[in-house]
C-alpha cells in the first residue's frame, strides 16, 4: 500500500496556520531541514500521522525572519537551533534559544557558504 510522502510549497502567511492545524489534527513533527539556495534558504517541515508524511516547503530570503514553531511544537527547539546555527537562518521568538551555542563550533554558519 502506498502512503503519503509529499512536498507542498507554501507561503509565509499560510505557514503558521497550517502548523497549528497539523497540531490540532494530531500530527507529529518529524523533521526540520534547511537547504541553501543562491541568496535564499529552503526550509522543509515534515509532519506525520500514522504512516502518512507531509512536508511543507518554505522559501525565505537571506535576511527574512521566520517565526519559530516552538510555541506550537516545543520539541522543535533542537532542530530549529540547528538550522539557525549551521545556516544562519533568522528564527524569531524561539523557546530555548541557544543563541548559536548548541554545537559551539569554531566556524560561524558553515553551511551558509559553499566549500
Amino acid at each position: 500500500m502506498e502512503y503519503l510522502n509529499t512536498i507542498e510549497p507554501i507561503t509565509m502567511e499560510q505557514f503558521l496556520p497550517m502548523v497549528i492545524q497539523f497540531k490540532m489534527d494530531g500530527w507529529r513533527l518529524v523533521q526540520i531541514c534547511a537547504c541553501r539556495l543562491p541568496e535564499q534558504y529552503e526550509l522543509s517541515y515534515s509532519f506525520a500521522k500514522g504512516f502518512d508524511m507531509r512536508t511543507l516547503r518554505l522559501t525565505v530570503g537571506e535576511d527574512e525572519p521566520v517565526s519559530s514553531i516552538t510555541q506550537v511544537y516545543p520539541c522543535a527547539f533542537i532542530q530549529e537551533n540547528e538550522v539557525a546555527e549551521l545556516f544562519g537562518v533568522k528564527i524569531e521568538s524561539m523557546e530555548n534559544d541557544y543563541h548559536h551555542k548548541l554545537y559551539r563550533i569554531a566556524r560561524d554558519t558553515p553551511f551558509k557558504e559553499k566549500g
Binding site: Q31, C33, C35, I78
Partner: protein, 359 residues
C-alpha cells in the same frame, strides 16, 4: 519552597559511553528541569557531500554512527536509488533486510547490556554482551567487518552470502534464541529489576505524539508505528506486526526491545527461507537529479534521509534526522519530577545515540 540547585551531568560520566551534557535544576533530590547541551561529537558530516561524490558518500553515511552503521548506509542508498529510479535486485533487498535485522539484534543486545550496567547488574551486562558477540561473528563472516561493514552501494550490495553463510546465520540465531530466554527472563521477571524499572518515566500516548517520540519509545505507549511497515527493501514480502506495550514506562520500553529481538530472529528466518537467487546489484549510470525524503526504521526508531541532488555528481544537500534527535525532547519531559538517582537510567531508556544526533 525548597532551595534550588543546579547539578552538571556529563559529558564524561561512568554510565554514558558517549558525551552528552545536562544541567539538572534540582529541588532537593527532585529534578525540576533538565537543559541539554550537545555538540561534543559534532563533526559536520553533512557538508562533506560538497567534496565527495554521491557514490563515495555511502562510506561516510555509514560512519555517521558505528551502532546504526548499516541502516545509515542503506537509508542513504535507498533515497539516492529512489531519485535515480534504480530498482535494486530482489536478492539485494533480501540481503539488506537480513543485515538490517542482524543490526537490530546487535543494537538491542548492546542496549540491554548498558541498561543492566546502569542498574549495577554487572553479570547481566556481561551476559548480554557475550550473546551479542555471536551476531558480530556473523557480521565478520558475511561482511568482514564487526561494526562497520561497507557492503551497501547505490544499486544494491557489494557482497553476497552463499548457502553456507545463510546456514551459519540461521544456526546462530537458533542458538541465540535459546540463550536469550534466561537473559530476557532476568530483565522481565527479576524482582529487583522490576522495582527499578516499573513506573519510572511514564510517557502518555498523547504526550509522546506531541513531543515527537519515535521507535520503541513510541511503541511502548501502545502506538503501533513501525516504519518497516512502509515496505522498503524486502519488508513488504515478510510478515510481521509492530511490537507494542501499553504502560509507557521504562519497563515497557525494555519489554518492547526484548520482543523486537525475537521478532528480528523471526524476520531473519523468513528472509532466509524466501531469499531468491539472482544478481546482487545493478549498474548505475548518470547522476541523480531531484529530492526525496526516505524513512527507515532504525533500531532506535524512525530515521529520515533527505537527499537533494542537482544532476552533477555532488549532491546539494544530505540531511539525516536520527531517532535520538526526536527522542531527546520526550526524555526531557520524563525527567521533570524524577529523582536525581534515576537520571542515568532515564537517559538510557531512550537508547541515546549521540554520535548519530550530532553528526
Amino acid at each position: 519552597m525548597a532551595k534550588r540547585s543546579i547539578v552538571p551531568f556529563g559529558p564524561q560520566h561512568p554510565v554514558l559511553p558517549e558525551p552528552v551534557h545536562l544541567d539538572l535544576v534540582l529541588e532537593d533530590e527532585t529534578v525540576v528541569e533538565a537543559v541539554p547541551s550537545i555538540g561534543f561529537v559534532h563533526r559536520g558530516l553533512e557538508k562533506l557531500v560538497e567534496i565527495k561524490d554521491f557514490k563515495e558518500y555511502v562510506y561516510i553515511a555509514e560512519r555517521v554512527c558505528g551502532i546504526c552503521s548499516f541502516g545509515h548506509g542503506m537509508g542513504y542508498c535507498q533515497s539516492v536509488e529512489h531519485i535515480m529510479g534504480v530498482e535494486p535486485p530482489r536478492r539485494a533487498n533480501y540481503l539488506r533486510t537480513i543485515w538490517m535485522e542482524m543490526s537490530r539484534v546487535h543494537s538491542h543486545l548492546l542496549w540491554l547490556g548498558l541498561l543492566a550496567d546502569a542498574m549495577g547488574f554487572e553479570s547481566l551486562f556481561m551476559e548480554s554482551w557475550r550473546l551479542r558477540e555471536k551476531i558480530l561473528d556473523m557480521f565478520d563472516l558475511t561482511t568482514g567487518g564487526r561494526v562497520i561493514f561497507s557492503v551497501n552501494c547505490i544499486g544494491g550490495v557489494l557482497k553476497d552470502m552463499d548457502s553456507g553463510m545463510l546456514k551459519a546465520i540461521s544456526d546462530t540465531i537458533d542458538e541465540m534464541e535459546k540463550e536469550l530466554r534466561p537473559i530476557a527472563e532476568a530483565f522481565l521477571r527479576d524482582y529487583t529489576v522490576g522495582v527499578r524499572l516499573r513506573g519510572l518515566g511514564v510517557l502518555k500516548p498523547e504526550q509522546a505524539i506531541l513531543a515527537g517520540a519515535v521507535g520503541p519509545m513510541l511503541r511502548s505507549c501502545g502506538i503501533a508505528y513501525d516504519a518497516r511497515k512502509l515496505g522498503y527493501a524486502a519488508y513488504n514480502e515478510l510478515e510481521f506486526e509492530p511490537v507494542t506495550a501499553s504502560d509507557g514506562d521504562s519497563y515497557a520500553r525494555c519489554e518492547v526491545r526484548i520482543q523486537e529481538i525475537y521478532q528480528s530472529f523471526a524476520l531473519i528466518r523468513q528472509a532466509i527461507s524466501k531469499i531468491p537467487e539472482g544478481p546482487i546489484r545493478v549498474p548505475v549510470k548518470g547522476n541523480p537529479n531531484g529530492e526525496y525524503f526516505m524513512r527507515i526504521e532504525q533500531p532506535r526508531g524512525e530515521a529520515i534521509y533527505y537527499v537533494k541532488a542537482n544532476g552533477t555528481k555532488f549532491l546539494d544537500r544530505f540531511r539525516l534526522r536520527t531517532p535520538t534527535t526526536s527522542n531527546i525532547p520526550p526524555m526531557l519531559e520524563l525527567m521533570k519530577g524524577c529523582q536525581l538517582a534515576d537520571v542515568p537510567l532515564l537517559i538510557l531508556t531512550i537508547d541515546p545515540c549521540i554520535s548519530c544526533t550530532e553528526r
